[in-house]
Symmetry: C2
Subunit: 157 residues, 2 copies
């Protein structure tokens, strides 16, 4: 459950790669093209191209056309959150269809729906979590993410 798509997966790998090269010790500032990433991680080239185009459209990376072209991070790795990356590929976070319902829309269950509000709370918590972790945190770091919930029951599974 709650699986992210392969495309989102590829986006995370690609951005991690770009960030590590761009801010690494070996060839800092080097522009990275799609083919390089596709071969390194065994990702279908044209599918990865779509992913990078989406990331570019969403302002996470900047593209450079022509020979020796490719991509660079549009801002520092510490300013790019997991939430931003995933949303660039899969659209806004939403546990249910009614998460982003506009006024005109409605679901059949809405009238007696008893779970919308609590689910929105859970959703918000997940969003905070995904937005608190950055690309920088994903690179070698071991971010210590903890959850505090007064309603914790300590139930084991």
């Amino acid at each position: 459950m709650l699986k992210i798509s392969k495309k989102a997966d590829y986006a995370l790998m690609a951005l991690q790669h770009i960030a590590s090269v761009q801010f690494g010790d070996v060839t800092p500032g080097r522009v990275i093209n799609t083919k390089e990433i596709a071969e390194e991680y065994h990702i279908p080239l044209e599918l990865l191209a779509k992913v990078l185009q989406a990331l570019s459209k969403n302002g996470l990376i900047e593209s450079h056309n022509g020979p020796k072209g490719g991509y660079l991070l549009a801002r520092s790795a510490g300013q790019i959150t997991i939430a931003q990356i995933l949303e660039s590929i899969e659209g806004p976070l939403g546990l249910t269809d009614c998460s982003h319902e506009k006024d005109g829309e409605f679901c059949m269950q809405r009238e007696h729906c008893n779970i919308r509000t609590p689910l929105l709370k859970v959703q918000d918590s997940i969003y905070q979590l995904l937005n608190s972790m950055t690309l920088h945190d994903m690179m070698g770091g071991t971010p210590l993410i903890t959850i505090q919930s007064p309603s914790a029951q300590g139930v084991d599974r």
Copy 2:
């Protein structure tokens, strides 16, 4: 992104309904059948039946056959977590395919994969969150769930 399935949605609604009737003021202890829930929330009867059967198999509710039959919670609402409910319907939590890879399996990217470890951390945090909220919390209560992360950058969107 991270949407739960309609079936999981139905499971949450159904369990909330069963819990509220079973422990409510009006007719406590009453057995609730599939048809009642399906009509109340406009859920396709036979699809809801599948959902409830799955919940029964996973030990969250107990079934009673025959006329006047139906379902009851198998334990108190405070001992049934959101994680348990969702996993009963959608299977184990896993952001990526490699979340539950056994030793024999592997993904093409595994060799140079740079995101597996951090994603497992995120996944674990989400699991803690979902496992800290119970069916009881979903009923009228307003559980205050907060996230604390040292890597928080305060990035707005």
